[in-house]
């Protein structure tokens, strides 16, 4: 089996992740539910991970690192904290439904900055124009469909200059590209724990640098006689029992990532993307969405055949043990922006554990499948 769907979730993980999850399930209770040993060990595990995340992502205080169940949950908290009915919110044309749907649900006045792929300067000009009347901005760091790296530093700088709070969706960049909120100064950064950070599913993180409004209300193991959620983080945003086993695994995933050179994972995944793009570029009728500028694309590659559907190609690849994703990837907006909304695309996405040999095999399989269908 060759797994090339890491933009959805990481499948191959460091061994320490599953070992830590297994140990946590057997030995850890719940933080804040007592001072007995398994509860305090769970609290230590959660704090260790919180502190490591704060240090890795340039957050001053570990209390400002919130554990969520995924990036969608984190984005919902951030949007709920900043956006009220009728507020004008500027977003890029590459946002995921995890941004779009909460904004629609909140009744926001959404301004979409639609600019072509791999043209960051055009995007910056549009953002600069639209930010004038904005209550806040939401921008993905990397498109989950095309791997396009948006000019997030410059967008963050524009937002700071205009006093517009910025929410960054780091779903495709956390653990892959450097993110330092002491430089970016974003109001919130949301990320999954189970993608680039190599943790288990059911983990997510929200980095907070702004006033917050709880999305969920419930027990926190603290200030229990109060009827409202605490006014301090992290308890304010962490109602209910933590996913302690998931957090234990996430901590190991983060340690693995942090032990590598900051650029080596991104460089490796880009090499794989470039190799596959090169291999596929000669296939008749196949459009390959790739750029040669390394800073503009991560290890995510979309392709689209003029006559063979993306779902058909994904199914045929699946029969050969090659796992990829086809369709709209929960990002219809990105497809509308790039003119691929009708069919969607076939997406290959890489992890630190993929090899050039695997990529070569996937490329060869694509050639055979397309030849067979075209006959």
């Amino acid at each position: 089996m060759i797994y090339l769907d890491s933009a959805a979730t990481s499948l191959q993980k460091p061994q320490s992740v599953s070992q830590s999850v297994s140990r946590a399930i057997k030995t850890l209770a719940s933080p804040g539910r007592g001072c007995y040993r398994p509860a305090m060990q769970a609290a230590d595990c959660v704090l260790d991970c919180r502190m490591a995340l704060a240090s890795y992502f340039g957050v001053d205080e570990p209390e400002n690192v919130i554990f969520t169940f995924n990036a969608t949950h984190a984005l919902n908290i951030a949007i709920n904290s900043l956006v009220s009915f009728g507020d004008r919110v500027v977003i890029s044309g590459y946002e995921h439904n995890s941004v779009l749907r909460p904004l629609y649900a909140a009744g926001a006045d959404i301004c979409i900055v639609r600019t072509p792929l791999f043209q960051p300067e055009t995007m910056l000009e549009s953002f600069e124009r639209e930010l004038r009347w904005a209550k806040c901005a939401v921008c993905t760091h990397v498109s989950n469909v095309f791997g396009y790296v948006l000019p997030i530093r410059k967008i963050a700088s524009l937002c700071r200059e205009r006093g517009v709070p910025l929410i960054i969706d780091a779903s495709q960049s956390a653990g892959v590209l450097p993110i330092d909120n002491s430089v970016l100064g974003a109001a919130f950064i949301a990320m999954p724990g189970h993608k680039g950070l190599l943790g288990p599913q059911g983990t997510g993180v929200l980095l907070c640098n702004h006033e917050t409004r709880p999305l969920m209300h419930g027990g926190t193991g603290s200030n229990s006689s109060e009827v409202l959620m605490p006014d301090y983080l992290p308890e304010r945003l962490e109602a209910g029992t933590h996913n302690v086993a998931g957090i234990a695994g996430l901590y190991q995933g983060l340690k693995f990532i942090a032990s590598k050179d900051r650029h080596c994972i991104a460089d490796h995944e880009r090499r794989l993307k470039d190799a596959l793009a090169s291999q596929l570029s000669g296939i008749d009728g196949l459009r390959v969405f790739s750029t040669n500028v390394p800073s503009l694309q991560t290890g995510v590659l979309s392709v689209l055949h003029e006559s063979i559907g993306a779902d058909e190609l994904a199914e045929q690849l699946g029969k050969r043990g090659i796992c990829v994703r086809a369709g709209l990837h929960c990002s219809p907006l990105a497809h509308e922006t790039c003119g691929t909304a009708e069919e969607g695309t076939l997406r290959f996405s890489f992890s630190p554990f993929n090899t050039l040999r695997e990529v070569h095999m996937a490329g060869e399989a694509m050639k055979k499948i397309i030849n067979n269908i075209a006959k």
Binding site: P31, L47, S222, S224, S225, E226
Partner: protein, 84 residues
């Protein structure tokens, strides 16, 4: 022997306070804050000995983790708040 309870606003702060004190060579134990004295349900404290109270407060203030309230815990278990 007298002990003091340094009340923290959350478990996370209590953990950080405990770790800060350990790094400063001060033995500190995280305990639940007694509701009868503090009026707070499910609060957390770090417990230090009378001898270590002053250096503990100094270390916590230096780390930006100064206690919200301080309680004296007598040998017979009686708890009373101390003016800061």
């Amino acid at each position: 022997m007298l002990n003091y309870l340094l009340m923290c606003r959350s478990l996370t702060y209590a953990q950080r306070a405990s770790r800060t004190l350990e790094h400063a060579g001060i033995t500190a134990t995280i305990t639940k804050a007694p509701k009868s004295a503090t009026g707070v349900g499910c609060g957390y404290c770090v417990k230090v000995s009378e001898k270590k109270l002053a250096p503990a407060i100094a270390a916590l203030n230096k780390a930006g983790l100064g206690p919200a309230r301080i309680f004296m815990l007598s040998e017979n278990g009686f708890v009373s708040e101390v003016e800061l």
